[in-house]
Subunit: 133 residues, 2 copies
DNA sequence: AACGCATTGTTATATTATAACATTATTATT
DNA sequence: AATAATAATGTTATAATATAACAATGCGTT
């Protein structure tokens, strides 16, 4: 039997490194531009690395922004249970780490008969800084 | 003073009509293709109508799918508080109308000092049908 | 009529993402 | 070590999604 991958490949490391160093979401093509000096020449190389990193929870995609951010919750137990706050003025994005919220949402059921295995939540508003302007 | 728009323009009506008749999310270019017989020839005409319709809550964007769906909550009080369930197998999307959930999320606060004015939540899983396959 | 503003029409272009195919690397099994 | 299975890479081209820029029109208000 083939084991699940437990290491990161060269391209995956390069992309993750770059995304982790940023403290804001990055666009795929901005990542591409910045890792070209490291040998990743084509969009697909970045997208493939991102796909894998998202799959294993090291990176999350901010869907409303088409941007990618490194996971801030160690070990990323919550890769299938993500929540973010997004400032609509300065675009600052923060990963929300709130166990009550994640418990509430992970246990959420409605009358649809559907059992949810995953969710993504994005809150919008003005951050402290922008509110006081 | 100019009043806030309370009617829909020609293009907006055409697009909304079309989206309402579908009971699934539609892609912008599929909408375009289907309303070309009604005179909307260019992507921008569709995107502009969609923008406005999203703004006033008649239509919601399913961010993880880049697709648009008509609001199912009458009067759309919740245009800034949206929740959807998405089947990862058949891609069926349902707007969740659950007052406990919306109350919980609308009142959610964390220690970031941010007051959220809007949220979008997407649940993923398998719908009843797909689960029993 | 004159103004302000939303909407429209149009062409071009930017941005985001995937298809297809050949090759190489890694790990597991024999 | 050879084989097979799986994952990752490299590359070119193209698909899908979305916006810029600018001119024109429609409509309610003054
Ligand atoms: Zn995370
Ligand atoms: Zn801000
Ligand atoms: Zn709605
Ligand atoms: Zn289904």
């Amino acid at each position: 039997m083939v084991q699940k991958q437990e290491y990161l490949s060269k391209n995956q490391k390069i992309v993750l490194d770059h995304v982790e160093k940023a403290n804001q979401p990055l666009k795929a093509y901005s990542i591409l531009y910045n890792v070209q000096k490291k040998g990743l020449k084509a969009p697909l190389q970045v997208y493939r690395a991102l796909d894998k990193l998202v799959e294993i929870g090291k990176i999350h995609k901010i869907e409303s922004r088409n941007a990618f951010v490194a996971c801030k919750n160690s070990n990323c137990i919550v890769s299938n249970a993500t929540a973010f706050s997004i400032c609509e003025s300065c675009e600052k994005v923060t990963e929300i780490n709130n166990s009550k919220l994640s418990k509430y949402l992970s246990n959420f059921e409605d009358n649809s008969g559907m059992k949810y295995s995953k969710y993504n939540l994005e809150f919008f508003g003005l951050c402290k800084k922008c509110k006081n302007k």
